[in-house]
């Protein structure tokens, strides 16, 4: 009896009909495609995109030029040239701060290393360019990214701004707002 059933299944192309039913079912399944340039993915809050230099609320740079990010960087992206503030021998700042984003692996170690939370990771990822020299960012460009990605300069920005990404190590463990 089982053999007869198999025989009937074979002559009526049963397996093929089952397969065709599957494809027909998928004809009505909603497609999983995201039409990328027109619609974009919702990125998770821990997303590690472009790195930005941040400012205090009064607009001054947070960076004190300590060079720890340069030391932490595994792919030697960051170059910091530190200098003293004019007339304020105890205050230092980064005279030059360059990031060669062609080498960056977006590990976030520089953000973790920064003692003054001057670095942040944004959700920007569209940095394709025709000229790779444009990816060597100087301090002004990095600050501009920071201004763009974190327009609200408040304390504990990562708990307040919807775009706040993985921000820095010092605020970890704070209770959620």
């Amino acid at each position: 009896m089982a053999r007869l059933k198999d025989w009937f299944r074979q002559i009526f192309f049963w397996e093929i009909l089952v397969g065709m039913a599957a494809t027909l079912r998928h004809l009505f399944v909603r497609s999983v495609t995201i039409q990328y340039p027109h619609e974009k993915r919702a990125l998770p809050n821990g997303y590690r995109g472009f790195i930005a230099l941040l400012r205090y609320d009064d607009g001054t740079e947070k960076c004190v030029g300590c060079d720890l990010c340069e030391a932490a960087c595994p792919s030697r992206v960051i170059t910091v040239v530190s200098a003293e503030m004019e007339g304020q021998p105890l205050k230092r700042y980064a005279k030059e701060y360059t990031m060669d984003m062609t080498r960056c692996v977006f590990c976030g170690l520089c953000v973790e290393a920064c003692p003054v939370n001057a670095l942040g990771m944004t959700k920007e990822y569209e940095y394709a360019t025709y000229d790779k020299r444009k990816l060597k960012l100087d301090k002004e460009q990095l600050l501009a990214i920071g201004d763009r990605a974190f327009p609200v300069r408040e304390k504990r920005v990562e708990y307040q701004h919807p775009h706040a990404a993985f921000f820095n190590v010092a605020h970890r463990g704070y209770p959620a707002k």
Partner: protein, 340 residues
């Protein structure tokens, strides 16, 4: 003199309308295929050019038109040039005998019939030209001077010859019942609703025809001549630009042609399935049935993987041809004893 001029105008206009319609359907068939395959794989298919990619076939055509036309250095240039034409012309010429609708149209005192010509050996004519298409594929594969092309051409020749046999034999049952080779007469023999269509008495022949038609048009799961995972692109590996487009057009035109023939032979051509539905124009019934078959081909392509070569040959010779012969035997015996 006036009669000759009128006749010429009627014939040329009919040919022009049929050609343009067929080529437009060919162009948009590629779009439907990509869309349906995309949906079946949970994708979207073409979306960028025009609303939901509706202008994609036109963009593709323009792109192919402006591509560089490369003839390989070691190729046989005459045959290499001839092959795409030899494939495309038979595919389009078969539409001359297809009756698309029922009623002639009268404009400016001229009578346009819904077919280019009605010859009394219509179906034989279509089959004959379909076999010429196989020459184009074989010669194109040979003239490219490429091993993949040659293998593709050889496979195509072997496949088309074996499946054309079962295709022709499957048709014989219908011809016995209709008593004519003319496609117009075969259509008219199926009037009077769903139960008079030849799909019901000739179900076996219908299934054989469907399977052989897929093999005949070199489509999945019988696309061995152009198996891209084994033979790059098979017989048109070396072709580019418009010549490639000719092969492409021919494949899709052949798809439409075999669907038209299947519609006429088994689904009653332009006849409506029920008398109550005959207010819909016959042409729409015809096109709808043709698209049913075209959807079926795309559906099969979205479902099945490619057959192995020996499986293909074994299925063709050991299953399809004996079945088709048995079908002829049974049909003719029944017709002889029942209808006398």
């Amino acid at each position: 003199m006036i009669e000759v001029a009128q006749y010429l105008v009627v014939v040329l206009v009919t040919i022009g309308v049929v050609m343009v319609t067929v080529l437009l359907h060919v162009a948009y068939l590629t779009y439907f295929e990509r869309k349906i395959l995309g949906w079946m794989q949970d994708r979207m298919g073409p979306m960028e050019v025009g609303y939901h990619g509706l202008l994609q076939p036109i963009a593709d055509g323009l792109k192919l038109f402006f591509k560089e036309d490369i003839v390989p250095a070691q190729a046989n240039k005459i045959i290499f040039t001839l092959a795409p034409i030899l494939v495309l012309v038979p595919a389009l010429i078969g539409f001359a005998v297809i009756p698309f609708g029922r009623d002639p149209i009268h404009i400016f005192g001229l009578t346009f019939r819904p077919y280019v010509t009605d010859i009394n050996i219509g179906i034989l004519y279509v089959l004959a030209f379909a076999s010429i298409g196989a020459y184009g594929v074989l010669l194109g594969g040979w003239a490219s001077n490429n091993k993949y092309s040659l293998l593709g051409g050889l496979r195509s020749a072997a496949q088309v010859i074996s499946y054309e046999l079962s295709l022709g034999l499957a048709i014989v049952g219908v011809l016995l019942m209709a008593g004519s080779l003319s496609l117009v007469k075969i259509t008219e023999a199926q009037g009077g609703g769903l139960l008079h269509w030849f799909i019901i008495p000739q179900l076996v022949a219908f299934v054989i025809y469907l399977i052989s038609a897929i093999a005949e048009t070199n489509r999945l799961p019988f696309d061995l001549p152009e198996a891209e995972s084994e033979l790059v692109a098979g017989f048109f590996t070396e072709y580019s630009g418009m010549r490639f487009a000719f092969f492409f057009l021919a494949e899709y035109a052949n798809m439409i042609l075999v669907s038209c023939i299947a519609t006429i032979l088994f689904l009653g051509g332009w006849h409506a399935p029920f008398e109550a539905l005959s207010f819909i124009p016959p042409v729409l019934w015809f096109v709808g049935k043709v698209y049913l078959f075209l959807f079926f081909y795309i559906w099969i392509r979205g479902t099945l993987p490619r057959l192995r070569y020996d499986q293909l040959m074994m299925f063709g010779w050991k299953v399809m041809i004996p079945l088709a012969l048995a079908n002829i035997l049974v049909t003719s015996a029944v017709l002889y004893f029942v209808k006398g």
